[in-house]
Structures are given as structure tokens and as C-alpha cells.
């Protein structure tokens, strides 16, 4: 069992095709390859934050400075960042491209992930955040581009959920 390198690479290449130049991230098991790829890419500014709230501020700053940013976080990190998503991103009409690893849903073995898994989609809906779930590898580039396009056109945050079937390979 391991995190899919193939699909991580497809996601990373999709972000590059979206001209993403800055990634703010907090590590999570399913995100290890994505974060490593960003770290090894000299053309990418990777900001490793201590808490996901900071990442919302950093991405907002990058947007106002004209740089395309993306966020990598676990769904519990998304839950930790709700206030700035509401009172910075929505309040100031800041587009955010949030890639969220969707832990605690079908197939989850870690008990501590399950409560966050239950509330992730309801909270996204309650906040009115457009959400796309990546399930089919060959759809990844198009869906990432569409998510970014909507974020920029609507000037709101959008979420791209990275589910188990995409990120985790049962050997």
C-alpha cells in the first residue's frame, strides 16, 4: 500500500499547466509526493506553513501580487482554515485553488480521520464552495484547469478533493 506517484505526478503536472507558481502546503501522507515535487521544482515557490490558516493569507497575498497559487492540505487542515476562507477569501473576493486530501471517508482505517471525513463535504456545501472530486486520472488536467478558471472568474475559493481511489494504491 502506498501513495500513488503516478497520480501525484498527473496532479503536479496539471498545476504546472495552470501556471501555478506558488504552493502553500502542510504535509499529509497522501500529499508527500506532491510536496516533494514542488520542493524539487526550482521554478516553484513552496511555502511550508505551520498551520493551514497561514496558507490562506499567503495565497491571498500571492493573488494580489499577480501570482497563481495553489494550496495543498488535508481535509482537517481545510477545517482548521475556515475562518480565513470566510473572512479573507470570501470577504475580499480572493480566488483560491484548494487541493484537499479527502481522508476519513470510504476505506479509511485510521479512526482519528473519520470524524473529519464525515463533515468535509457538508461543510464545503454550507460555505458554498464549488467542489470537484478527482477520480479519473486522465480527467485531472482538465478538472484542475476548470477549477482554477472558475476561481478566477468568480473570485471565490474552489475545492478539489483528492480521494482515496486516486491517491492510495492498494498493492
Amino acid at each position: 500500500m502506498s501513495v500513488s506517484i503516478t497520480n501525484s505526478k498527473l496532479i503536479y503536472d496539471g498545476l504546472k499547466a495552470c501556471d501555478v507558481k506558488l504552493i502553500a502546503a502542510l504535509p499529509e501522507t497522501w500529499l508527500v509526493h506532491l510536496i516533494r515535487m514542488a520542493d524539487e521544482d526550482r521554478a516553484m515557490t513552496l511555502v511550508r506553513v505551520a498551520r493551514e490558516e497561514e496558507a490562506i493569507g499567503i495565497a491571498a497575498g500571492a493573488h494580489l501580487a499577480g501570482v497563481n497559487a495553489a494550496l495543498l492540505m488535508q481535509n482537517h487542515g481545510f477545517l482548521a482554515a475556515i475562518n480565513p476562507i470566510v473572512s479573507l477569501a470570501f470577504l475580499y473576493k480572493i480566488p483560491l485553488l484548494m487541493l484537499i486530501s479527502y481522508r476519513g471517508h470510504m476505506g479509511e482505517k485510521d479512526p482519528w480521520q473519520t470524524q473529519g471525513g464525515l463533515v468535509t463535504e457538508p461543510v464545503l456545501r454550507a460555505l458554498g464552495i464549488p467542489t470537484s472530486t478527482l477520480t479519473i486520472p486522465h480527467d485531472i488536467p482538465r478538472r484542475l484547469k476548470e477549477a482554477q478558471t472558475l476561481a478566477h472568474a468568480s473570485l471565490t475559493p474552489v475545492a478539489v478533493l483528492l480521494p482515496r481511489e486516486l491517491m492510495w494504491e492498494e498493492a
Binding site: R48, E53, I56, A60, G66, A69
Partner: protein
């Protein structure tokens, strides 16, 4: 030293640089001194002015970015000190106006009133330059030195917890946001 005196002393240094300020007294005092399109007032989202400043500084390495932070805001996001220190953008100056209170929401004392040393936290986080100032003259000198150093600096200065004569700002949030965004865009095109 009052916040208004501190800001007036360094206003010539702020005028042309990219400024991100916290809400409340700091925002309204800066606005009263003279709004500029390169000033962004972060109303709400306490603690994230420094994160926004970091994002801008990393995105625009040719610009100097100054964050006007407060003790209450910084205490809500102490992790930002470690994140800024990790990337050490030399074009970022982080100023903390420490009035030891949550002035705009009733004046309740913050932990700096009972001994928390934000300059010490900044130093221990790995910030390459940390300066402290008590007087207007010291503060002005610290800001000039920090800007000339092109090294990530946090300046902590104690200020009196005195509310501004008015919190009114004739500038809507979105007006400020789009004006600031356009200003940065024009500066990128014509450096």
C-alpha cells in the same frame, strides 16, 4: 509613544512601499495619515497580515513589503514567525506595534501585558534581525536600518493603548482590495 506618532515618524518610508496592515487602530491611524493605493488594510482575519505580507514578498522580490502587525494579531498566529524565518525574504519588514491590549475590542490586556516577549519569540523562531524600540527616534532609526539591511527583520515597539479619535475609513473593503491589486499590477509592468 502613541501608534499615531510611531506611524507619522515612519510615514515617508511607508509612502511608496507595499504596506499590509492589521485592522482597528493601526489601520485607521495609517488611513488618517494619508491613504495610498499601495496600502492594504486587512479588516478581520486577525493574525494573517504577516502571512499576506509573506505571500506578496515571495511573489514580488523586487518590491519591499512592510507589515504593520499588533500584539493581539501576532499572538493569534505565532506560527507565522517560524514560517517567515524559514524563508527569510529580505524584502519583508515585519513591524509589531505592541500596545499590550486588544484595544479595538474593549482594551483587554494581551499576554504581552503579563510578560510574553514577542521579540524573544521572533528571535527564537530564527528571524535573522530582531530590533526593539521604545522611543519614536529609536523606532524611526530601526525602520530605516531594517529597510537598508535587505534582511528579514521584525521590529517590536511598545506603544500606548490609546484609541484613535475615529475608526472611520472612507474606503470599502473591496475598493481597497481592487485598488491595491491594480496598483501592484501596474508596478509589475513599470518597475
Amino acid at each position: 509613544m502613541r501608534t499615531s506618532e510611531a506611524l507619522r515618524a515612519i510615514y515617508p518610508e511607508l509612502e511608496r512601499r507595499i504596506i499590509v496592515t492589521i485592522m482597528g487602530a493601526t489601520a485607521s491611524e495609517l488611513y488618517a495619515l494619508g491613504h495610498r493605493p499601495n496600502f492594504f488594510y486587512l479588516e478581520h482575519s486577525m493574525g494573517l497580515a504577516s502571512s499576506m505580507g509573506l505571500g506578496i514578498a515571495l511573489a514580488l522580490p523586487a518590491e519591499q513589503v512592510i507589515v504593520l502587525d499588533g500584539d493581539g494579531s501576532l499572538l493569534m498566529n505565532l506560527g507565522t514567525l517560524s514560517t517567515m524565518a524559514r524563508y527569510k525574504p529580505g524584502n519583508l519588514l515585519h513591524i509589531v506595534l505592541d500596545n499590550e491590549s486588544l484595544l479595538s475590542v474593549g482594551g483587554f490586556p494581551t499576554a504581552t501585558a503579563t510578560g510574553t516577549d514577542l521579540a524573544g519569540v521572533a528571535r527564537a523562531s530564527g528571524t535573522p534581525r530582531v530590533l526593539e524600540a521604545r522611543t519614536v527616534a529609536d523606532f524611526k532609526l530601526a525602520v530605516s536600518e531594517a529597510l537598508a539591511s535587505h534582511t528579514l527583520t521584525t521590529i517590536v515597539t511598545k506603544v500606548e493603548a490609546v484609541a484613535p479619535s475615529s475608526y472611520h475609513m472612507d474606503l470599502t473593503l473591496l475598493e481597497n482590495r481592487f485598488q491595491f491589486w491594480r496598483c501592484l499590477r501596474e508596478r509589475r509592468r513599470a518597475p
